[in-house]
């Protein structure tokens, strides 16, 4: 992507949450609980990630009776590759959140 990306800690936390079970589809509310983000923050992040091809989204095929269909999200291969430096940074310093260095690495990967 030609434009310079600006990845916030919140965006990185969403990527990290999706990366935990990369083959699984996640619900918005589950992601909100995992990341501690409000819906008004979480969804714009998901939109940006989907626009960049780092996350894929789809509608649930078979909704539960009496409930509306839910929107599902999964990290893509590009998203995994982009999140890998964050994972490395976190594993190198266990017990810490994403570091500025790791964030910079992800920014470079996405830009």
């Amino acid at each position: 992507m030609a434009t310079r990306s600006r990845l916030s800690a919140q965006t990185l936390s969403v990527l990290a949450a999706l990366r935990e079970e990369p083959s699984q589809w996640h619900h918005g509310y589950a992601l909100a609980k995992l990341t501690g983000l409000k819906s008004g923050t979480l969804y714009p992040i998901l939109i940006r990630l989907a626009d960049r091809g780092l996350v894929e989204a789809c509608w649930q095929d078979e909704p539960q009776p009496g409930r509306p269909r839910r929107h599902l999200y999964r990290v893509t291969a590009d998203g995994l590759a982009a999140a890998a430096p964050v994972a490395q940074a976190e594993s190198a310093r266990p017990g810490t959140r994403v570091t500025p260095t790791g964030r910079a690495v992800v920014r470079r990967a996405l830009s």
Binding site: G28, Y29, A32, S39, G40, L42, Y43, P44, I47, P68
Partner: protein
């Protein structure tokens, strides 16, 4: 389904329409997910996030600026036109005008976008749309000032409203006139939205020609209008002792000449293909009449409203001006300053309703001329059926290319 549920569903669909098509799934996703959130404050907070998302995505639309501009202009028009006087017929008319016009313009903009597509024809199309919307919105407060004067109780003991001239068709406060006025404004807005849409496939030059010719026509009729429509003499300091008849002659000539000139110019600029050329010619003539009539109406009614609000202007322009057809008025008014001022006011106010006639007649004249012009143009292209000469999918680029 209960009425409340239906209303909620309609509201949700309406809100979704504000969001760009590519983002609607995301807004629907937040709403669908709300059912999984525990009820109470958490669910409310979740939905509030959805509202934030709608606002965020809506504000990023390119059309948002135009929407905000329209909302601001509509609010200004409502503020200026909202009647503050005691209840009366004019007050009811004013309320109906303000509310109907604002709703009408907003609805037409949305509906015609679906039917006709977005604005085409470059900057002129966008300018025309904004100018026509602004003109119609500006017309309402001006018209309401006139309505209030026509409906006001007489002063000086002489009720000039009793004269048939004022209370006759086209002058009196009749609902049918209001309905006609609103219908005409709706047709004007719709016609301009169509002419400036992508689907109309008009060359930018056609829009420019029609706008310029319409401007000239509008100015000519504006000069005639507030200074004495109907041939009554005006006391213009630059034309002492003369009436407006020469201007009227010029205006009548322009009523026919301006659309014809626009049609000829558009036909010369746009040379191919045949059917596209006819479209440009007809549109140029119609646009000339629409912009001319609207310009004359808005500026004329606006000037009359200014006269009614500013006594010095009214007394200057209408010093010796009197109601046409009211015999012996000067004798009645002699030595009665209140009645004299009232007569000036009502004389000015009665010059406004004929603009509605202009709005109806001008496009009809242009359509008749355009019909004759297109018949002549079609006959001048022998052996080329119009339907076969048009390039599928749009002939704008080829037409403009050939014109330039």
């Amino acid at each position: 389904m209960s009425g409340l549920s239906r209303m909620r569903g309609a509201l949700a669909r309406g809100v979704l329409r504000l969001v760009p098509a590519g983002r609607r799934d995301w807004v629907a996703a937040v709403w669908a997910e709300a059912g999984e959130v525990p009820p109470g404050w958490r669910r409310l907070a979740w939905r509030a996030g959805g509202v934030r998302l709608v606002a965020r995505e809506t504000l990023q639309r390119r059309t948002t600026g135009v929407t905000l501009l329209f909302a601001a202009a509509a609010a200004l028009a409502v503020w200026a036109a909202w009647p503050g006087s005691p209840a009366g017929f004019a007050t009811s008319v004013d309320l109906a005008d303000v509310i109907t016009v604002v709703v009408l313009l907003g609805t037409l903009a949305l509906a015609t976008r679906r039917l006709f597509g977005p604005a085409g024809g470059g900057r002129t199309a966008k300018f025309l749309r904004i100018a026509v919307y602004a003109a119609i919105l500006a017309l309402i407060p001006a018209k309401n000032v006139v309505e209030q004067v026509l409906d006001a109780p007489p002063r000086g003991g002489i009720d000039l409203r009793l004269y048939r001239l004022i209370s006759g068709p086209g002058f009196g406060n009749h609902w049918k006139n209001e309905i006609l006025f609103l219908a005409v404004m709706a047709l004007y807005a719709m016609a301009i939205l169509w002419l400036t849409s992508q689907r109309a496939r008009l060359a930018p030059a056609t829009l420019v020609i029609g706008t310029v010719a319409g401007g000239a026509l509008g100015v000519a009729w504006y000069v005639v209008g507030p200074l004495g429509f109907g041939g009554a003499p005006a006391t213009n300091p630059w034309l002492p002792g003369s009436d407006v008849a020469p201007f009227m002659v010029l205006a009548v000539i322009l009523l026919f000449a301006a659309p014809i000139a626009a049609m000829v110019a558009a036909g010369m600029r746009y040379t191919a293909p045949a059917r596209g050329r006819i479209r440009q010619v007809v549109a140029a003539g119609l646009l000339t009449s629409l912009t001319g009539a609207l310009l004359a109406t808005v500026s004329g009614t606006g000037t009359i409203a200014a006269m009614l609000s500013a006594p010095w202007l009214r007394d200057w322009l209408y010093r010796d001006h009197q109601l046409a057809g009211v015999a012996g008025l000067q004798l009645l008014l002699r030595g009665n300053p209140a009645a004299l001022a009232y007569s000036h006011q009502i004389t000015a106010a009665t010059d406004a309703p004929p603009f509605l006639i202009i709005c109806v007649v001008f496009p009809l004249v242009a359509l008749a001329l355009a019909g004759l012009g297109s018949l002549g143009l079609a006959a001048s292209v022998p052996g080329q059926p119009a339907a076969q000469t048009e390039v599928p999918g749009g002939d704008l680029s080829s037409g403009v290319a050939s014109a330039t």
